[in-house]
Symmetry: C2
Subunit: 371 residues, 2 copies
């Protein structure tokens, strides 16, 4: 009924010759193979080949299935996921945003994510924002453009106000396109979330120190541009108030989440206040503080106790094995993968709440003569 036309049709096809049939006779093992090659070799239609290759539920006879499979095998055919994604609107990719992928804290979260996602055939883009609002927004846009099925915020959000607004806009747009957002950090964004109570972790650590007789404890805080820094600091100040400890701004110094920053902050505390213990908002800073103390000739923990937060691998091997609060980074990533998968499946996963745990090592001593 159709092919009554001669010559060129309005849509540009020559009438009786399928332009889909390539001229090349034998192109085995020479270039990239598409479904069409597989179909040809198997002597079936592209549709049928697609059905077997994509694991469609559409019925295909066993015989045909085998022919297609063997053809695909002969050509070592690998379906083009981009093409598939274009029509299914599912790319099987996830983007994760961290502050710095060389930081084991994030490395472990990403590892957890990867372990949970690999078997479900999802691939992971990683992006280090370097805490730069512009860069982070850039990455979010790029992920969107690459049609990731989900974006994971493993990095705490930044406190920059214009960033907040822009991120809200971008994420709303991403969600409109069906994108899922998972949050694994202290963040302004909503979404399926793995919660770790940073506030309480610090407060508990202070409580632990109080239990060991400390009444004058200093705090080395993270960089103010990170939301998590504020949360952890709040844990400290509320605990100080609650326990009625010595207080005042001079008990707090900014260590910027680095070893050297921690050392400098410790030096400052040494000058300003007379403490028996210090809690650092991160292990890295705690190690810096210990080094500073040791270098200044004050013994740890005999004269001053030092407590950290995170329990990174280094913690155990520092100058003095560090007593710290474990943040279950790998588990955060792993559970993140689970709720991500659930959300992608259209479910509404419950938030996961992970608890912390004090790892007692040798950097905290009991004060014999309190006060």
């Amino acid at each position: 009924m159709a092919n009554v036309f001669k010559g060129k049709l309005p849509c540009g096809y020559p009438a009786s010759v399928s332009s889909k049939t390539p001229i090349s006779s034998s192109n085995e093992g020479e270039a990239a193979h598409s479904l069409r090659h597989v179909a040809q070799l198997a002597g079936v239609s592209v549709a049928t080949a697609s059905r077997v290759m994509s694991g469609s539920s559409h019925p295909v006879s066993t015989k045909t299935r085998e022919r297609v499979l063997s053809a695909a095998d002969r050509l070592s055919f690998e379906p083009n996921r981009l093409a598939r994604a274009l029509v299914t609107a599912k790319s099987q990719t996830v983007g994760v945003i961290v502050h710095d992928i060389s930081d084991p804290y994030f490395g472990e979260i990403v590892k957890g994510l990867e372990d949970g996602l690999h078997s479900e055939d999802y691939r992971l883009f990683v992006a280090s924002s370097d805490r730069d609002p512009v860069k982070e927004l850039d990455y979010v846009r790029a992920f969107h453009a690459h049609q990731v099925d989900a974006i994971v915020f493993a990095a705490s959000s930044l406190t920059d106000p214009s960033y907040a607004e822009a991120l809200e806009t971008l994420s709303a747009r991403f969600r409109v396109r069906g994108g899922v957002i998972v949050v694994l950090s202290d963040h302004l964004l909503e979404g399926p979330r793995v919660r770790f109570d940073n506030r309480r972790a610090v407060a508990d650590m202070v409580g632990y120190l109080v239990g060991r007789g400390h009444r004058r404890v200093g705090y080395i805080s993270g960089p103010p541009e990170l939301l998590v820094s504020g949360v952890r600091l709040a844990g400290f100040t509320t605990a100080v108030a609650e326990f009625g400890l010595a207080t005042g701004p001079e008990y707090i110094a900014n260590g910027g989440f680095t070893v050297t920053g921690g050392g400098a902050a410790m030096g400052q505390l040494l000058e300003d206040v007379d403490v028996t213990a210090v809690v650092a908002a991160s292990d890295l800073m705690a190690i810096g503080a210990m080094r500073q103390l040791l270098a200044s000739g004050v013994s740890v923990p005999e004269e001053i106790s030092v407590a950290g937060l995170d329990d990174i691998p280094i913690a155990e091997y520092g100058p003095v094995p560090l007593t710290t609060m474990r943040v279950p980074t790998y588990e955060i990533g792993r559970h993140g993968a689970s709720i991500l998968l659930e959300a992608l499946a259209g479910e509404t996963p419950d938030d996961v709440v992970l608890s912390s745990q004090i790892i007692e090592r040798e950097s905290v001593a009991t004060v014999e003569t309190p006060g």
Copy 2:
């Protein structure tokens, strides 16, 4: 001349009504926008819109360009990179294979890669193989399927023979599709490469020890299933021969590239031989060795010196600040990005050769009374 047909055309279009014109009148800010929406809003064809959005060199009048740009802006249009990739055969993505992304050694390489690639608008997939041949091959296949423009092998290849063969096949296939392979490790695969001479690094470290008077030095090796372990070990054995040091299989113990493995290996060396120094094939193992030594009551470096390899961040902060050979991981990644970009541009980049450097800290002593 075309629209003389009535009714359904062979290609399925109703004759006079462009099926490309959607019914919906106002779909602002509601769903994902495509180029078509932008073109419509700007009152131009999709082709023209594409030209301005993709930065094509095809001429477009300033006026039109502005109209398109403002339309895109109004719709906050973000081009679909998947669709673009499908036609251009360039996905602007790169896949990197590491052993474990939570290991800072690889984290830093990935960071270097990312820093070099981000500005060129390439996104990074990361994959941790866990040194599992099956998993690694799986990832390579997946990267291929996702049409990455390049695959970076940051992880040393495995010594498993069937893996070698399979990887050769897969990589050949990937290259046929125009894929670029970059090698940043000791690897069986060829390709643009950043070289770091692991063999020589170890040999130099032994030379350094000899210069400090050591004549009996032990070696803690990496896991035999990694190519790099063999390369580093070769550096040790040739140096031992060259300098005429005490030798024998009992001077070598396998530490598996872990802290605990390093400790166990040290324990074994302690039983089997009488050495004045030990070089470990990685800092992690060196730290384990130091801990084992200290726990056994032997002082470092007074009784036994310990030297590492890598200079990971921990190295400086261990029980005794570790003397080690720096492997410039970040630079490896950074240079990797450069040659990757060159290769992608169709050039044939020269291999980059990076040299090592001894970082003298406190874990190596001079032997006063050489053996």
